[in-house]
Amino acid sequence: MESKNMSEQQEISLSILKKRWLKFKTLRRGYYSFIIILTLYILSWFLPILINNRALVVSYEGDLYFPVFSGYHAGSVFHQDVPGEAVYRELKAEWKQADSENWLIMPPYPYSPYEDITVQGNKMFEEPSSTHWLGTDNTGRDVFSRLCYAFNISISFALILSTLNYFIGILIGGSMGYFGGKFDLIFQRLIEIWSSLPMLFVIIIISSIIRPTFFLLIFIYTIVNWIGMTYLMRAEFYREKSKDYVAAALSMGQTNFKVMFKHILPNSLVPVITYFPFSVVGGITALVSLDYLGFGMPPPTPSWGQMLDVGLSNIPKWWMVFAPVSAQFVTLIMVVFIGEAVREAFDPKVYSRLR
């Protein structure tokens, strides 16, 4: 009975993608990088409760407050003598000292990326210490907390950008390859014209006219960047459409749309998937360079590029250069490891150099 179960288990067929996933898992470097990046990225969505200057829970004179979720509470609410919002770190210290019945719970790392020198107790250019793990910057903001928030923004930006580029690129490139003829010819010429736009200048010009936001930046990058994918997809669809399984699908009356996306697309995903991590790398770098030049996200949005800019103009404060550069380095190298491992997993050859 047991042996029968065994053989049945072995008989379960694996789709090609599943096989590749299993192979990907054996490529330790890429797989662990993937796990780490994925975990960090998921964690980074919970940053407001992990790294924040607002308290998670405040119990003041019998009432409970949840400033992380409810937002702004003036200092006067808690009878604190500060202008504007309450400074929960100070409150905590005060209440502790006074042995008061009031209490509050701070997030594990109680500094927000937005608070600056105007908030009581903050100083400019503080060296890394146990309170400010990576010191503070030229306006007294905590570098570590900005680094973490910027990680979320960078990865989200790169992921959304790459996905959008892929979506448009696959749709247009795929149609060009599949339909061919005049459609292909016309779009190819349009793309050639479009791709001759100096994209960095376009972005700089637009950014200097309108104040860029996260989605505006994605939009601007997408309208120029989708082109790269069309070349790949056009070639893939062009090659795949001449295969007999496509003829078989057509001869049984499948519609063009279904043939394209049910039959051809799954067979042309190899360049898409293997290229994706590198496209993410490109997205991260693009945002960093724009922010560095000052045409990216509006201040005070935390971003690696902006941190780098400030750091480089205050180079003796080594932590302000060190932090964004190493964060970027580690992130990019891990994404590249993922990319390598994916490419390796899609390689039909069994023996490989990377292991």
Partner: protein, 336 residues
């Protein structure tokens, strides 16, 4: 034409325009198929033979109307009239959307079983695809039908969950046959279904196809370049040369008493495992097949024909019924 006719191909021509030059002007035409006539009756197997590049496959693809997908500029002339019940449908004239509802009646088995099955789909998905398109079966009925079909083609229903790469070439071709049979078609176009297979498997697959032909009452257009295979399976044989039909008739007549000089040469090349006929005369044709871009005037075969006359260059030979049900495109052999 009898009442039993399933498809009547009249004067079918398939021309592929060739564009070139600075302004993409039409500079030439590939006459892949140049005016051929034949018909297939119900439950009949018609074998089609010829050298590589003679247009056999193009005829097959024209008959299921997928040429326009592959080559949008293709020019299809003549008619391919299918008789489905009382309906007469001309596949040569219908657009691809109009032809869609008749797709279930004509199916195709492809030459290369490694390319004709989508590697990302399981066998169950592959075979049930025509069912989804042309029947209103629910999932359970489809699964049952897939299992039944797999059984018919000599595979196990449990193998339905597997992917094509887990099968051998012969097994894959069986999957292709099951897919073609799924909607109970009237005609299956078999485009060299066994030439990619091992010789030992060829016989199995051919016999399977013969059994299924009787069981499903389906007609085959059997395209091949192996005459002995075609003779074994066919009721009628059509011999093609460079886009033209050289000879068409009952299998026995064409195989044993070929009339056209090309058919004679082709048949003399068939290897026979019979020592007593060791000294059989082989007709070896000189030269290569001319390019279909620039076909010889008159009879296309005259450049290689052992009995060619000056008159052959003047006009295209008439495709004439020289004996009962035996059409030959060569006036020189009419008197034998």
């Amino acid at each position: 034409m009898s009442n039993n006719t399933l498809v009547d191909v009249k004067n079918l021509s398939v021309h592929f325009p060739v564009y070139g030059g600075v302004f993409s002007k039409r500079i030439a035409t590939v006459k892949a198929v140049d005016g051929i006539n034949f018909s297939i009756d119900r439950k009949q197997i018609v074998g089609m033979v010829g050298e590589s590049g003679c247009g056999k496959t193009t005829v097959g693809r024209a008959m299921i109307n997928i040429l326009r997908h592959v080559a949008p500029g293709v020019e299809i002339g003549g008619s391919i009239e299918y008789h489905f019940g009382d309906e007469v449908v001309d596949f040569a004239k219908l657009s691809s959307s109009e032809v869609r509802k008749y797709r279930s009646r004509v199916q195709m088995i492809f030459q290369d079983p490694y390319a004709s099955l989508n590697p990302r789909m399981t066998v169950a998905q592959i075979i049930s695809e025509p069912l989804q398109l042309h029947t209103d079966m629910n999932n359970k009925e489809q699964t049952e039908r897939v299992g039944w079909l797999l059984n018919k083609v000599g595979l196990q229903p449990e193998q339905a969950k597997r992917y094509p790469h887990e099968f051998s070439g012969g097994q894959r071709q069986r999957v292709g046959i099951a897919r073609a049979l799924a909607t109970n078609p009237d005609l299956i176009i078999c485009d060299e279904p066994v030439s990619a297979l091992d010789v030992s498997i060829q016989a199995q697959v051919i016999n399977l196809m013969l059994d299924l032909q009787e069981e499903f009452d389906v007609s085959y257009l059997f395209i091949a370049h192996d005459l002995s295979v075609v003779e074994h399976i066919s009721d009628k044989i059509a011999v093609m040369y460079l886009g033209d039909m050289a000879e068409y008739g009952n299998a026995q007549d064409v195989y044993h008493h070929p009339r056209h000089p090309y058919s004679k040469a082709l048949l003399s090349a068939v290897p026979l495992p019979d020592p007593s006929r060791k000294n059989r005369k082989r007709i070896v044709l000189q030269g290569d097949v001319p390019t279909p871009l620039n076909k010889p005037s008159g009879c296309a075969f005259r450049t290689r024909c052992p009995i060619a006359q000056p008159s052959c260059a003047e006009s295209k030979p008439e495709f004439k019924e020289q004996a009962k049900d035996h059409f030959v495109a060569c006036p020189l052999v009419e008197d034998n």
